[in-house]
């Protein structure tokens, strides 16, 4: 029988799971990376993710096109980003707190408008078999990849390059490092930060659409289990480097797939603790990587998270 992978199935399942589970992390962390580079932190991306998931599914159901759904999710995400960006541009308003508020609002709106879409079956995004029939079916499944994952993979180095080599990238970094310095050379920080937060929301919306339109590929109210929030922590882990976000997202996805993978070979003891692995991993990594004395390499100096 071709099938019995036995214990070898565990690393395979973790690998395949990492690809499946990591995409939302990747998109949200890339988005947050852009926002934080400009000196703002947006914890509201969790709400954006959930709203994006709902909007994507609803539009896909109503138009029959999952790609229109992705677009709608991205646009809705940008709107939330603009809202966050504008409110935080008012003097004395705290960006972390506004993020928490928008998390609540985004989730509430998604649940409010999402009721009629829990039951219907919407068309979802296709997956590509990258093994081209060369692998046995079960392994081929692990190599079946959603185009969004590839887009995310491609976006990371492009963003990294863009931050370093384009004028826009330079402006964003400058605003993030010192609003005053930017002002001195005639760049207003506010519109740049609003645009960066909108771009962050754009990515987070796509991350949400991935959840509802590919994996698990269905809209319901329990869809997100804090992926949007963990992705914010992941940006610190990746030290504001978009390429490192890819690896970070992959590690988190793998940690998320650990519990079910172990159970599928009969290790069921303490599954709550296995399922909590991504949270523990994030915490440990942050504790190890942060430092009391100096700020982290690569961290935008204006970031509220640093203080």
């Amino acid at each position: 029988m071709d099938g019995d992978l036995g214990l070898w199935g565990v690393p395979l399942a973790i690998f395949a799971g990492a690809i499946r589970v990591s995409t939302p992390f990747l998109f949200v962390s890339l988005g947050e990376c852009i926002t934080e580079k400009a000196g703002r932190i947006n914890l509201g991306l969790e709400g954006t993710l959930v709203f994006g998931a709902m909007a994507g599914y609803a539009i896909s159901y109503n138009t029959g096109s999952p790609w229109l759904g992705v677009l709608a999710a991205a646009l809705a995400g940008s709107l939330f980003g603009v809202l966050h960006g504008l409110i935080c541009s008012l003097p004395k308003v705290n960006d972390v707190a506004v993020g928490i508020a928008l998390m609540l609002l985004g989730t509430g709106l998604a649940f409010f408008f999402g009721k009629p879409y829990i039951q219907p079956k919407a068309p979802i995004l296709p997956g590509f078999d990258l093994s081209f029939g060369l692998l046995p079916p079960r392994l081929a499944e692990a190599a079946t990849i959603n185009p969004l994952f590839l887009i995310g993979l491609a976006a990371a180095p492009i963003l990294a390059w863009g931050f370093r080599n384009t004028r826009t990238g330079l402006v964003v970094r400058m605003v993030g490092d010192s609003g005053d310095a930017a002002k001195a050379v005639g760049i207003a920080a506010m519109p740049v930060r609003v645009a960066a937060t909108a771009a962050g929301g754009f990515f987070a919306g796509i991350g949400g659409a991935f959840l509802s339109l590919y994996y698990p590929g269905s809209w319901n109210e329990a869809l997100s289990s804090g992926q949007g929030l963990m992705a914010v922590a992941l940006v610190i882990f990746a030290r504001w480097n978009p390429v490192a976000c890819v690896w970070a997202a992959f590690v988190f996805g793998g940690a998320g797939a650990l519990g079910p993978a172990l159970q599928s070979v009969g290790v069921t003891q303490g599954y709550y603790l296995f399922n909590a692995a991504p949270y523990l991993l994030t915490l440990v990594i942050m504790a190890v990587m942060c430092s009391r004395k100096q700020s982290l390499a690569g961290m935008p100096a204006e970031l509220g998270i640093a203080r």
Binding site: G106, K115, G226
Partner: protein, 369 residues
């Protein structure tokens, strides 16, 4: 983060006359009351527009919120019962906020406090009720407090952002609770709802005389008062506010920032842990997954709406308790989705935060300058 901590009249210049000082203070107080009121009205108006836009009658909606939350003695008892845990979970966020910290793992501290209290209560079977109840309260406070103190310590010693770490700790606490009530602490007789053993009717907290509201409401109000006195009228509280205003200056002045920071986190966590103990000792009699029903998350909202003022938490918790109490009526009478309450809460939250920007701008009008 200084924007989160309250800066009231203390900053007034001592060179002015006593009369001027009074006017300044009055202005500050009037502003401190006016800004949240304006924000609440703005949030409510936004929700009314949202209801109109989605085809509901806002007048009808607000009438039902009033009826369901405050319109009758039954509604009031419903509201106050829902407000009780919020008083304590709000302190979780409000106390560390005085130092400029934003901690939001309220749910986890409540849950762990509940498990610890249930474990102790079960183990002390046969002990005098007073001893057991005090022990359960202490266990709950310790469990919740230590859990959050971890976030404070990570912040102080490793510079880890406390908002994210407290939330991650909260997820871990909920996983740990599930593990414990389904594994080591499970009562085999709790069949289809895995729970710890029942603490016994003798250890249960009763209702307030003449009502069916458990004493958790009174405990919550008393703890809010204690926290208010602590922050407003003690040296420790003063030191906390100084750190919240300017940590670097506080260090220069020789204040131990670390102990204050970790201590404030402990205090906040202890309050949420006590809320967990009360859920066990006044409602369920055991610890189980029903501890995690969102009191912690609503507590974050209460703390921010009250602008981290321990006294203001009381009316805000009652307001949100009332909104929660009317949710069922909205579902039944108008066929509104249950999430409409979330939307209302979200709009109020956003409005309150945005209103921070009015700070100091209204004061001149109130002090007549």
């Amino acid at each position: 983060m200084a924007a989160v901590a309250e800066t009231s009249g203390e900053a007034a210049s001592p060179t002015r006359g006593a009369w001027a000082l009074d006017r300044d203070r009055l202005g500050a107080i009037a502003e401190a009351i006016a800004i949240p009121l304006i924000a609440l009205l703005a949030g409510a108006a936004l929700f009314a527009l949202f209801m109109l836009a989605t085809g509901y009658d806002p007048v009808e909606v607000y009438a039902l919120i009033w009826a369901g939350g405050f319109g009758s003695s039954f509604s009031w008892s419903n509201t106050l019962l829902r407000a009780a845990p919020l008083l304590l979970t709000a302190l979780y966020t409000a106390v560390p906020a005085r130092l400029g910290l934003v901690v939001i793992g309220n749910e986890g501290a409540l849950v762990l406090g509940g498990v610890a209290a249930a474990g102790i209560g079960f183990a002390l079977a046969g002990a005098p009720a007073a001893v057991a109840i005090v022990a359960m309260g202490l266990a709950g406070m310790l469990a919740g407090g230590i859990w959050v103190a971890l976030a404070g310590a990570l912040r102080h010693f490793r510079g880890v952002n406390e908002t994210i770490s407290s939330l991650l700790l909260s997820y871990l606490a909920i996983a740990l609770m599930n593990h414990l009530v389904e594994g080591p602490l499970r009562d085999p007789a709790s069949l289809n709802k895995p729970s710890t053993g029942h603490i016994g009717d003798g250890f249960m907290l009763g209702a307030l005389p003449g009502t069916d509201i458990h004493v958790g409401l009174a405990i919550g109000i008393v703890v809010c008062l204690i926290c208010h006195v602590l922050i407003r009228h003690t040296r420790t509280g003063f030191a906390m506010r100084v750190v919240g205003g300017n940590p670097a200056a506080a260090r220069l002045a020789g204040l131990g920032v670390g102990p204050l920071l970790i201590g404030a986190c402990f205090l906040g966590g202890a309050a949420a842990g006590l809320a967990g103990m009360i859920e066990v000792a006044a409602v369920h009699g055991r610890a189980n997954a029903s501890l995690a029903v969102g009191y912690g998350y609503t507590g974050i909202l209460v703390a921010f709406l009250a602008r981290h003022n321990a006294l203001a938490i009381v009316p805000v918790a009652i307001l949100l308790g009332g909104i929660g109490a009317s949710s069922g009526l909205l579902q039944r009478r108008l066929d509104l989705p249950d999430a409409s309450v979330l939307v209302l809460q979200g709009l109020l939250f956003v409005a309150i935060l945005a209103s921070e920007t009015l700070r100091g701008r209204l004061r001149p009008y109130f002090s007549g300058r």
